[in-house]
């Protein structure tokens, strides 16, 4: 009891009385900005790579581009996120702000994984669909847009959701390049107050709640997607 009372009092003192909740909120905002920005970049890169590789199967002109995509995914997957982040911050984007670097670096990292997710979503669509589209005279790109991707979305969206959940947690290392996302903010508060238990417990709880909420939303989305598919069957 003693412990909880003291925990509660410290919590109120640090975050409310001393107003440090503002730091937490602005940290959360940065976490959200990096996550969503990186997700958007990742999806865009992943989409381009997936489509380039799909078309490269029978287009000689795209082979070099497909090879570049392979190099990109291999390199990105082989480097730890923190290292990638620092390379971007200290070498490639020296004059950019930390948060911009964060968005770009996480986006580029995410793109390598997204490409694979989107590719398997596309491959999950029956091959006969492409042939049907082509036999009507639609180009490969038109068939991709009108026929394949709308069906692949059903497999791709849940995968993107999972990637997003992983990404939120991963952004906790953005503090390495001076971005005050939520982890870094709480660290600063801890350094200020010498109070580890209260601050770190709150930090863990924050991530946990975010992940639980996202997971729920994802389940809901999956149910909707499969209901849509079922409605067409009944």
């Amino acid at each position: 009891m003693q412990f909880f009372t003291s925990f509660y009092l410290k919590f109120v003192d640090i975050f409310i009385t001393r107003g440090m909740y503002k730091m937490v909120l602005s940290g959360l905002k940065n976490t959200a900005v990096i996550t969503l920005g990186a997700l958007a970049i990742g999806v865009a890169i992943g989409m381009v790579i997936a489509i380039v590789k799909y078309f490269a199967d029978d287009s000689k002109a795209l082979k070099p581009l497909a090879w570049l995509c392979d190099v990109y995914t291999t390199v990105v997957r082989g480097i730890p996120m923190v290292v990638l982040l620092m390379i971007f911050y200290y070498i490639i984007l020296v004059s950019a702000e930390g948060i911009t670097v964060g968005i770009i670096a996480f986006g580029i990292n995410s793109g390598a994984y997204m490409a694979e997710l989107i590719r398997s979503g596309i491959n999950a669509v029956d091959r006969g669909q492409m042939e049907a589209g082509r036999s009507l005279g639609m180009s490969k790109l038109q068939t991709m847009r009108k026929i394949i991707l709308p069906q692949a979305v059903r497999y791709i969206l849940p995968a993107i959701g999972n990637e997003m959940i992983a990404l939120v947690k991963e952004t906790s290392v953005a503090g390495y390049v001076a971005v005050a996302e939520v982890t870094r903010s709480i660290f600063l508060i801890r350094n200020n107050t010498y109070e580890s238990v209260v601050t770190l417990t709150l930090l863990a709880a924050i991530y946990l709640v975010i992940v639980i909420i996202l997971t729920r939303l994802l389940k809901l989305l999956e149910r909707r997607l499969s209901n849509n598919a079922k409605r067409r069957k009944s």
Partner: protein, 240 residues
């Protein structure tokens, strides 16, 4: 209209088509028969270049489709294809299945495309299913829609690859009836089929494929009643 010159297709080391030459004229209904694995589907799929031939030429309305610089998409618009597995677009309603390509490729307005689609759908007895999704239809109904989908592009020739092979026996008739109707209206058709009754009744020419060549060809009378080669005789003995 469709001139096949010395068509060859190899898959890796396997020679599937070994020099096929034939001519398909306007109004012809050509049925392609032959044992399983003889290359019937490959032959048909080479006609609209879904399969790239490794040798020979496909001359369609004067243009060589195997030419690297040809606009294949434009030519394919004039060649309808019906697949064994229907391959309707499951995420679209029947009406959307029928109107997407004409609107996209023939620049039809939505209204024009829908009118045409509904008219043709009515002709195969499915006008009331326009707003359903493919999975809500039976196999026979889906295949009729697939035929209509190809017809909505107003093709000059229709290619069928065993259109009734994936159907329950009681649904075969309704699809064959639509095809007979189409033949009667003068549509040029190339039909790979195991339905010998249909071939005899509707075709004006039969190609018997064996080992990647046309082993024998002729009118239904010639092929079914007076087969010359031993291969054809033994094939017919098995299937008739």
């Amino acid at each position: 209209m469709l001139n096949v010159v010395n068509l060859e297709k190899h898959f890796g080391g396997e020679n599937v088509l070994n020099g096929i030459s034939t001519e398909i004229n306007k109004g012809d209904v050509v049925c392609v028969i032959g044992p399983s694995g003889s290359g019937k589907s490959t032959f048909l799929r080479c006609l609209n270049m879904l399969e790239k031939p490794t040798g020979g030429k496909i001359i369609f309305e004067g243009d060589d489709l195997t030419d690297k610089h040809i606009d294949l998409n434009a030519h394919r618009q004039k060649m309808g294809m019906v697949f064994q597995q229907f391959n309707l677009f499951p995420h679209m309603t029947i009406l959307e299945n029928l109107t997407t390509a004409p609107m996209l490729l023939k620049k039809r307005s939505k209204q024009q495309a829908q009118e045409k689609a509904l008219e043709l759908l009515g002709r195969v007895g499915l006008a009331d299913r326009a707003n359903d999704y493919p999975a809500q239809l039976s196999g026979g109904q889906q295949q009729r829609v697939a035929i209509v989908r190809a017809l909505c592009m107003e093709p000059d020739v229709m290619l069928f690859d065993e259109p009734t092979s994936a159907l329950d026996p009681e649904m075969v008739g309704e699809v064959l009836d639509v095809m007979k109707e189409l033949a009667k209206e003068g549509m040029t058709m190339v039909v790979v089929t195991h339905e010998m009754g249909f071939a005899r009744e509707v075709a004006n020419r039969i190609l018997f494929l064996a080992d990647g060549v046309i082993a024998e060809e002729g009118t239904p009378d010639e092929v079914f009643d007076h087969p010359q080669s031993e291969r054809l005789q033994s094939f017919l003995a098995k299937v008739l």
